[in-house]
Every structure is written in structure tokens, then in C-alpha cells.
């Protein structure tokens, strides 16, 4: 059961990208508000280009040029919340070994013990001294996930981490993610455009509009986790949510089209 204290409160009034002098700036997000409870697994679902990555970068503190607020609950010891980030591509430093890549994000004196555990947990105990170019695509993703979990994050951001992988690898990685998340509970904000994936993983789906991104609907996943393997129920839910999402996007876009 998730406690009630929100791990993340975000209210983005507006995020715009400057364009060349004179041109109209591109508004990526407008009125995107979101609250995530500690320990909750939330999937952000939206069409591509709707500002999902922009939003994650703002939450991660990479982008400070926006109008709005983002608050992360501090750790019990009063320190700032730790954020783990799994990017769309693994983003491992190719010139550092697997071990060095994970050690980089850990406090220096704590690296060794946690690291071996982490590699074990993602099923790569032998990969420690390999360079990223020597890893398969699936292995690289595992290392990226291990890196994010290794810091014992208070908030884990995942930006479509399983795109452009074959079906079997994706299945394995999803199972791995859930296994890790159960063993090392944390708050997760998972971005995807795949409703089926969101249904398999998340406690709650947050449906986003097209550009500029804002929240259209909040859909709790009622299905117990052990029943999510049955394809039929996932499919039924998916169809329902997909239909609703399309209607909402259509409704949101309608005034804009009638204006033009």
C-alpha cells in the first residue's frame, strides 16, 4: 500500500522553447500538473512529441528554464531526494567499463559492495569489466537499469527505456524491472507511448494530450499484478483506454482546429 505523502508534486504552467529571433516560440508543455505518491509506479502515456521527455528532464533538474514548480520530497535524513534516470538509449560512457559506469554515480567509498549486488540482480555478474561496446543491446539496457537502481533512488525516471528492442528482450526487461522494483521499492515515473506496456507495469496511467502537453486523464489500473500476465484482460483494458485517450485528444484538439 502506498503511503499518502507525495514523493513528487509538479505543476508546470508553461515550458516553451525559444526559436530563431522573430519566430513564435514552441510551447512544449502547458498546464501539466501531476502528483505521485511515494512508492507509486506511474506511467505517463502520450503521443510522441507531446513533451514527455521535456517533462522528465524538468523533474530531473536538467532543465530549469520553465514556468512552474517541481517539488521532490526530501529523504528522511533531510537530504535532497535522489533521482535515478533511465534514458531512452542506455547512455553508458563507452570509454568506461560496466563497473566504472555504475561506480561513477555512487559515492566513492560505497561503490564496491552495492555494485556487485546490483550486477547480480540484473543478471550480469560477469559483465563487470566489459566495455559498453562489448555488450548486446539488452545487456546495455540492464546496466542502465542497474545504474539507476544502484543509487537507491527516491524517484526513478524512465524515458521509454524499452523502445526499439525485440519482443522477447522487452518482456525480459519488463519482468526484470518489476522484480527489482519489488525488491527495492521506489517511486517510478515511467514514460511510454505503449498503453499495453503501461498496463503491465504501472499502478496508474496518466494520459497526456498532444503538444503542448497537459494531463487529460488519470486512470488507476485496477487489475491485480498477478493477473496482468493474462493477455485478454490487458487487451480489453487497452482498447478501452485507447478509445478514451483518442476521444480526449480529439476533444482537446477540436477548439484549436475550429479557430484556424
Amino acid at each position: 500500500m502506498a503511503p499518502v505523502t507525495p514523493a513528487l508534486v509538479a505543476a508546470i504552467r508553461e515550458k516553451r522553447y525559444a526559436r530563431a529571433r522573430g519566430a513564435v516560440p514552441h510551447v512544449a508543455l502547458a498546464g501539466l500538473s501531476l502528483q505521485v505518491a511515494a512508492g507509486e509506479f506511474v506511467a505517463l502515456v502520450g503521443p510522441s512529441g507531446c513533451g514527455k521527455t521535456t517533462f522528465l528532464n524538468i523533474v530531473a533538474g536538467l532543465d530549469r528554464d520553465f514556468d512552474g514548480e517541481v517539488r521532490l520530497a526530501p529523504r528522511p535524513d533531510g537530504e535532497a531526494a535522489r533521482v535515478g534516470y533511465v534514458f531512452q538509449e542506455p547512455r553508458l560512457l563507452p570509454w568506461r567499463t560496466v563497473y566504472e559506469n555504475i561506480a561513477l554515480v555512487l559515492p566513492p567509498h560505497r561503490a564496491d559492495v552495492r555494485l556487485q549486488d546490483m550486477l547480480q540482480a540484473v543478471g550480469l555478474p560477469q559483465a563487470r569489466d566489459l566495455y559498453p561496446l562489448q555488450l548486446s543491446v539488452g545487456m546495455s539496457r540492464r546496466v542502465a537499469i542497474a545504474r539507476a537502481f544502484a543509487i537507491v533512488p527516491d524517484l526513478l525516471l524512465m524515458d521509454e527505456p524499452f523502445v526499439s528492442l525485440d519482443h522477447d528482450t522487452v518482456e525480459q526487461l519488463r519482468d526484470l524491472l518489476l522484480k527489482l522494483w519489488h525488491a527495492r521499492p521506489t517511486t517510478v515515473l515511467f514514460v511510454t507511448h505503449d498503453i499495453r506496456e503501461a498496463l503491465v507495469l504501472a499502478d496508474r496511467l496518466v494520459l497526456l494530450s498532444g503538444t503542448p502537453g497537459r494531463v487529460l486523464a488519470d486512470v488507476p489500473v485496477g487489475l491485480a499484478r498477478h493477473r496482468r500476465h493474462s493477455g485478454a484482460e490487458i487487451e480489453r483494458l487497452r482498447d478501452e483506454i485507447l478509445r478514451r485517450h483518442r476521444e480526449l485528444i480529439g476533444a482537446a484538439a477540436a477548439p484549436a482546429t475550429s479557430e484556424s
Binding site: 536538467l62 533521482v83 534516470y85 547512455r91 563507452p94 570509454w95 566504472e100 561513477l104 554515480v105 561496446l133
Partner: protein, 261 residues
């Protein structure tokens, strides 16, 4: 036999054959030199064998090694200063548009300032001192290094910096593990051309305002028209520089590129 060992053998065979070609080329040069010198038969074009005989004699009984050491120390000092300062300037200018716009013309000016002018001004302003000599050489190389490293800093991959920032990797560790490894190819490029440039300019500062070193000796033998010794000293130093390239630069570069294989 596996494909890997075949490939390894092929590559080591190729390395050996390219080494043989190199040696062959040097030997050919020496032979041509020897023949031309024998035909011309002039005091102003000593034969290869005469030059190498003097080289050996100067190394064992003469002051060649002393002067070589002095010059090498100057090359090392000027090289280290030029690389450190040039790299720092290059990174800063590559990262900051404002500073780049502000100082770009300075860099162009320095790049176009003849080495001789910098040396003469350094001696005039700071006296015929060791610091002026080494400083003048470094200033000759700094703009070159800065321009190369600026290219590198502009090409830095933002995605890796973002990764480091999101995981709160500290400034120093980000520089060491994320930024510098991306700059190594540029550092090596600057170092190679730098060594070649620095040692030639060191000879000129020695010739103009020092009382020891290979450049000073060459000036001395120039006054005596002793071409044999001029060539002996130059060859000795060229060999030293080539050895530094083979024994230090190339292994370091291979080490830095280890992850690519």
C-alpha cells in the same frame, strides 16, 4: 585455427611489414645521402658516415648529451605549459559563446604572430632569461592548442553531461570521467603537432638568447661553417623526438582508445 588468431596474425604481419618498409626507407635515404656526398665531395656536404661518426664521438667524449638534455628539459617545460594553458583556454572558449566571441580575435592574432616576433619581444621585455625563453615557446604553441581543444569542447556530447548531471555526479568527477575522455583525441592531436612545433622553436630561442642547448651549439658551428656537427646535433635531437613519439605518445593513445576495439 580460429578467425581471431588469423586476424591477429594478419595484423601483426602487416605491422612487421610496415616496420620493414619504414626501415628500408630510412636506409635508402642514408645510401642516397652517402652517394651524393661522395660525388659532390665538398666540406659543406659531409657524408652520412662522417656525420654519424662525429655524432658518436660527440656523444661519448663531447658535450652532446649535456646540450641534448638541456634542450629536452626546455621542450618539456614549454610543452607542458602550452598544453595545460591551451587546453584550459580551449575548453572555456568552446563552452562559452560570450568568451569565445570576446577572445576569438585575440586567438587569431596570436596564431598569426610570427614565432620570431614573440621570441624577440619576450627577450626584450623580460630579459635573456630561462623564463622568457620557455614562456616565448609556450606562447607560440598555446593558440594552436586552444583552437584544437575548442573544437573538441564544441563537439562534446550533451547527452553524457545530462546523464552525469541527473545523477548528481560532482563537477570534478564529471570532468575526469565524462568530459576529458571525449577530449582525448583532440589532446593527442594537439600534443603531436605541439611537440613538433615546440622543439623547433626551442632551437630558435636557444640560438637567439641562451648559452647552452642544441640551438646554441648549432649557432656556434654555423659560425665555424662546421656542417658535420650541425647535422650531428640535429639528427641526435630528431631521433630523441621520434623516440618520444613512439615510446610515449603512441602507447598512451592506444591506451586511451582501448574501449573502441
Amino acid at each position: 585455427m580460429s578467425a581471431a588468431t588469423t586476424a591477429q596474425r594478419a595484423s601483426s604481419w602487416m605491422a612487421a611489414s610496415s616496420m620493414a618498409q619504414r626501415i628500408g626507407s630510412v636506409v635508402l635515404f642514408l645510401v642516397v645521402w652517402q652517394i651524393v656526398a661522395d660525388v659532390v665531395h665538398s666540406r659543406l656536404l659531409p657524408s652520412a658516415s662522417a656525420v654519424f661518426a662525429v655524432l658518436g664521438q660527440e656523444a661519448v667524449h663531447g658535450p652532446l648529451l649535456f646540450h641534448l638534455g638541456i634542450t629536452l628539459a626546455r621542450v618539456a617545460a614549454a610543452f607542458v605549459i602550452a598544453m595545460a594553458v591551451g587546453t584550459a583556454i580551449g575548453i572555456v572558449m568552446g563552452r562559452s559563446r560570450t568568451l569565445d566571441a570576446l577572445f576569438d580575435s585575440w586567438l587569431v592574432l596570436l596564431l598569426n604572430l610570427p614565432a620570431l616576433v614573440i621570441i624577440v619581444l619576450a627577450y626584450v621585455w623580460f630579459g635573456l632569461t630561462e623564463a622568457a625563453a620557455i614562456g616565448a615557446v609556450a606562447v607560440n604553441k598555446i593558440p594552436n592548442t586552444a583552437v584544437t581543444l575548442r573544437e573538441g569542447a564544441r563537439a562534446l556530447d550533451r547527452r553524457y553531461s545530462d546523464m552525469a548531471a541527473s545523477f548528481r555526479v560532482g563537477r570534478w568527477r564529471t570532468l575526469r570521467h565524462v568530459i576529458l575522455p571525449q577530449l582525448y583525441p583532440y589532446v593527442f592531436a594537439a600534443a603531436r603537432s605541439g611537440l613538433a612545433l615546440v622543439w623547433k622553436i626551442v632551437l630558435i630561442v636557444e640560438l637567439l638568447g641562451r648559452s647552452n642547448g642544441v640551438g646554441f651549439e648549432i649557432q656556434l658551428y654555423f659560425q665555424q661553417f662546421d656542417v658535420t656537427r650541425i647535422l650531428a646535433y640535429s639528427i641526435a635531437f630528431m631521433v630523441v623526438i621520434q623516440v618520444i613519439e613512439w615510446a610515449i605518445f603512441q602507447p598512451l593513445e592506444r591506451r586511451a582508445a582501448r574501449w573502441r576495439q
